[in-house]
Every structure is written in C-alpha cells, then in structure tokens.
C-alpha cells in the first residue's frame, strides 16, 4: 500500500510539472549550476554559482591522469583567445584530481600556460552535484546560470561543436 502511494505521489508530482511546462511554457524544474564552495588552484575560495563572470561559461571536468581531458583542454587553449574575443566565453577547468595527484594540477596548468580559471574538486563534491560519471565532461552555462548543453567525452572536433553552442548563446 505504502509503495503504491509513494509511486502515485511521484507520478502526480511529475505529471504536474510536465503539465505546467506545456501550459505555461515556464519550466518549474531547471538545471541550474549547483552552488559548491571550491578552491581555485592558487588556494582562493570560490562559489561555483557566483563566479562573477560576464558571458557564457564552459565548465570542463578533467584530471591530470585523463589523457582525453588534457587533449580537449589543450585543443581549446589554442583557440581560446579567439573564442573569448568573439563570444566573451570563460572556461573553468574543474580538476577532479584527489590528494594523490592534486599537487600536479598547478604544475600542468602553468606548465601548459593555460589561461583558464582552474578549480580543484578533490573530494568530488562539484562532480557529484553536476552528475558527472566519467571525465572529460563539458557543460555550457548561460548568463542566467542555466546549463544549456553538455557533452561526455572528447574526440578531436568536439571543440567545434561546443563552439557552435557557445555562439548560439552569444547571439541571443
């Protein structure tokens, strides 16, 4: 009986929100950027939902032990100044390295002369909140903090698809 009741309630809640979506075209459930306090790779504390950036933001989850992640971020790094000039986008590279490899993050980031904002998520709090299964996972967030696009993996060329999505936002 209890099981039946709980399913009924779940069903009702979902049907309610879908119904509202259709009628009012006003989403009741959105996917906003979760608010998690992390440190950047220089030690400054930041809130992921209040980065104070203008323009769209790309969050890219990576790790020093993830070869495709590094390929993706190195490929974007070559294009980054053009992307910024044309769309005002900022890339936030979120390292999920834990204590084992966390100290290598700054070495890699500066050694590769990346221009990104780099955040450390050593215990996976932000990774979990964003629903990341595997790295790399890239999210595009609009100026309202709503997640509008995400992609889980990297193959050469994916950065161009990402850039098309960024341009769609800056045209709005």
């Amino acid at each position: 009986m209890k099981t039946y009741l709980s399913f009924l309630i779940i069903f009702l809640s979902f049907s309610h929100f879908f119904a509202q979506n259709e009628v009012e075209n006003n989403e009741v459930i959105t996917k906003k950027l979760p608010s998690i306090k992390l440190k950047d790779y220089k030690g400054k504390v930041v809130n992921t939902a209040e980065l104070g950036l203008k323009g769209p933001i790309v969050f890219s989850f990576w790790a020093t032990w993830c070869a495709p992640c590094k390929k993706e971020l190195n490929a974007i790094n070559d294009l980054y100044s053009d992307w910024q000039a044309e769309t005002g986008v900022t890339l936030v590279a979120v390292s999920i390295d834990d204590e084992k490899t966390k100290s290598q993050v700054a070495i890699y980031v500066d050694g590769k002369a990346w221009e990104y904002i780099v955040l450390l998520d050593p215990n996976g709090d932000f990774k979990r909140a964003m629903g990341v299964n595997n790295v790399p996972h890239t999210f595009l967030v609009d100026t309202d903090g709503t997640i509008v696009y995400s992609h889980n993996n990297y193959a050469p060329g994916d950065e161009e698809k990402l850039y098309e999505e960024i341009k769609k936002l800056s045209l709005k």
């Binding site: 979760p34 084992k100 070495i107 215990n123 889980n152």
Partner: protein, 552 residues
Amino acid sequence: MKYFFFTIFFSPVILFSQANITGNIESTFQFLNNDSIIGATQPDQKGLINSYMNVFYTQGKFKAGLRVESYLPRIQGYPNRFDGTGIGMRYVGYANDLVDVTLGTFYEQFGSGLALRAYEDRALGYDNLLDGMRLIVRPKRGVVLKGVYGYQRLSFQQGKLIYGEGIVRGVDGEINLNEAVKKLEDFPLTMVFGTSFVSKYQVDNDPDLILPKNVGAYGARAKFRYKNVTLDGEYIIKEQDPSNDNSKIYNYGHASVINLSYTKKGLGILLSGKSVDNMSYRSDRSKDLQDVLINYLPSLNKTHTYNLVSTLYPYATQLLGEVAFQGDILYTFKKGTKIGGKYGTSINFNVSTTYQPIKHTSGINPLDSSGVTYTSRPFDKSDSLYWRDINVNVTKKINKNLSFIFSYFNITINNDVAKISNDSKGIISSHVGVIETAYRINKTNSIRTELQGMFVEKENGLIKDKGNWATILVEYSISPSYFFSFMDQYNYGNPLESKRTHYPIITCGYIKDATRFTVSYGRQRAGLFCVGGVCRFVPANNGLTFSFTQSF
C-alpha cells in the same frame, strides 16, 4: 519510511516553483566467459548488472539527495558484499551564508585527508560515506569550521546499507589569514592554517587485551604562497590503536606530507615528500583491505594513463609505514622557437621513490606490557626500496592535423612488500616505451594509435614475473557521436609458452550530449582504461560489457 522520504523529496515540486534537479545514471551489464588466465569465471547467472542513479534536489536554501543502487548481481571485480537494490545514500540539508547542515549521508575531507576522508569511487565500488550529521559554519570571511558525526558505510547487502562497528566524530577549522584579516588582504604572502581532531569509538570485546575504545587522530596544516612559490604541508598523529593491520601494537602513528612548487607560464616544478608510520585508521579495528578507512593515504606518484603502465605494476601505499618522495617538472618550449616549432613542445619529467622507514628497537622490549614495539620519526628512511618510477614524455604537434606523444617509463616495484604478482619474488624492474599518434583526417574524423612495449629486466638470465608485453591500440572517432576502438595486450615474453596470450578488446560507443552508450567485447586486465574519449577504472573481465551513462 520510504513513502515518507519520497513525499518529502518530491512534494516541493508541487508546492513551489524553481526547483533544481541534477543527477546521473550509470548502468553496466556484463555477460561473461570463463577465463582462467585473468582469473575470471563465468558466474552461474551468466549475466551481471550494476546500476545506480543519483538525484540531487535543491530549492533555495534547502537540499536533498538520494542514490538508488542495484546489484543483480554485482559485476566482476566489484567488492563481494554488494547485492540487492535499495537506497545507498540519502540526505536532507539546509545551507545559507553562515551555516551548511546535512543530515543523513555525506562525503567530507579534512585538509589533505590524512585524518579524515569520506569519499566514493563508484567505478571501483569504493564508498566509505558517513551517515549522521555534518555542520559547516562560516562565521566570517576566510574562516571555515566543520563538525562531523556518523557511522561509516561498510557494505550494501540485500539493498541495505551496512555500517562499520565504530562511530566517527571530528572537528576541523581552517583560516585564510589574507581573507580573514583586512590588513593582510594585499599582503604578498598568502597564509592558510588549519587543524583537525578526529576520534572513533568502538567497544572493546577483546578477551585478552585492554583496547582503547576511543582513538583520536589530530594535527595541523599550513599553506604559504609567495609570488610563484607555494609551500604546503600537514602533520597528523594517531593515538594508540591496536588493530588487525598493525598486529595489535600500542604504538602511536604519524603521517606527514609536504609539497613545494614553483610555477610560471610555461614551467612547473614540484617537489613532494610523504612519511607514514602505523597509520591505518578504521572505524572497525578488525577490518582490512579498503574497508571503513577513516583516513586517506594515497601513494605519492603519478597516475599513469597508458594501459601497460597503469595495469601491470601499480603501487599502493603501505599503511604501516613508508617514506616517499616525488619530483615533477613540466616545461613548454614556446611557439616559434627552434624546439617549440609552430605549436610549442612540452616536456614532462617525473620521478617518485618510496622506501621502508627505519624502526628503532634499541632499548625497547617488545614483550613488555606497554605494547610499544619500536620508535620511528618522520622521513627517517632506510635504503630498502619499495617503489621507484622514472618517466619522461614529450608532446609534439607537427601540424594542424598530426601530433605525437613519446613516453618512457622505468618502474621498479618491491613485490615482497607491495605485492602485485604471484609469479615473482623481490624487485621487479621494467622499462616501458610508448608512441602515441593522433591524426585528424578532416573536421570530424580522426584516428589515434598507441604502440606500447614493456621490457622486464631479467634476473640471472631468467625471465622475471610475466616477462615482456606489447600493446597496440587503434581508435577511430567521428565527432561528436561515434567511436570504435581495438586494443590488444600481448604477453609475448611470458616464460610459460601456454601463457603467451593476447588480451584483445573491441569497444564501440555512441555519445549524444550527456548520454553515452558503449559496448565492448574481449578480455581486459584491471586498471585505468582510457578509450573512446573518457577514462575510467575497470575490474578484470572477459566477455561482453554494455554500459550506459546519463547526466541530467
């Protein structure tokens, strides 16, 4: 009870607007074959499936989260105490600028984790979450105080959480002086200090010994940054904790880490040291392996990506004691220079070593009533080697479409201490060379190959351990949605001819935004597996694996 929880969980959706839901699903199905070579056997059920789904709900200052897990039964290589379907994580909470409170399950880390770290690694079945209460207070800018209280997750049986026997309590404080003290805001030296105290309680039911019921672990940490130089470190002492791990000695334990780094654009240098003695700290003193560890003591070395390096001789920390050092340097030759070429060339050099610590026994009677069997000091090392890894890699982009990575690794492991193979004794030393090529055919199609060779040093003319290996990997990807890969590990140098086997595996995948399907068929060794544009840790298996992941 469940009914109550679901109601709480979803009722705000009906009542208010602007709820926020995120989460993810992962499901892995396996159909396995018998394979004596990698120690995989076909289970009676033939088909195995692991699934979980996380749902995180936030609305304004309220939050709630839940994970439903399912093992019907668990996939191969997963801990053997996972079965059934049920709720593996659930919490409710409230957070504003001053407080952040969680009731239910949570993950947490104090400092670098030497005293306390509750975390998960779903791919490996590792989860030592705390179930209880956590309060985080931020009384002013730059100051964070944390308090935790809870039981640790030990396993998941018949769809229910099973906890470790002891309770875990802890407090932690951290102050960033430059943020907390206005006068220091623009001071060029940034300073962060922290301190932790953790305690566990477990009943003493030992018939012979008087065991400490409450065992504390405490210490302090600091981080300094001046211009391009960063220095950080932490030191933790653990009180007397006779356990299965340490053969019930009454020694205090200690652990320390220290990192010194210098970075500027195009250059990064890191020197690290770590010292551990008698630091296994569990909420149940009778447990072993990865069970109910309260603290986290990772090995001090690079996590390698290439398959032969990452799967054959990985090293895990010796909880009872080790002294380790690491040096890492990454330099990028600028674009337009002779070595840098048109795109810049990067060189990374990394060395890590681990030694047995010295245990001083003079003046100590191990049989006296104190139960203290030796004394030891941080970074007091012997010459007995546990591990050494010397590796270098060069990344070179030739033109817009073609790039190479050349790597060399020399890995030495003491198989008597850090046991990794049953086929050998003593020190195993290996040399690995890897050439990785990436070629972009056109805007969306690309091909990537890896050629890897592992050469194990002979001893007195005899082949050591499993001998030499070679791996070939070919991966074809069509951005943004498809990939096909073939990998074969070949143990061509095995001293036993019957074991000179291939480990071929084919993997195909389809990715649409945050949805990903992969199918693989073949044989694979346990370890970090990076194909199809993602990396994940996998257990050994032989057969068909289908996996599905979705983020939302």
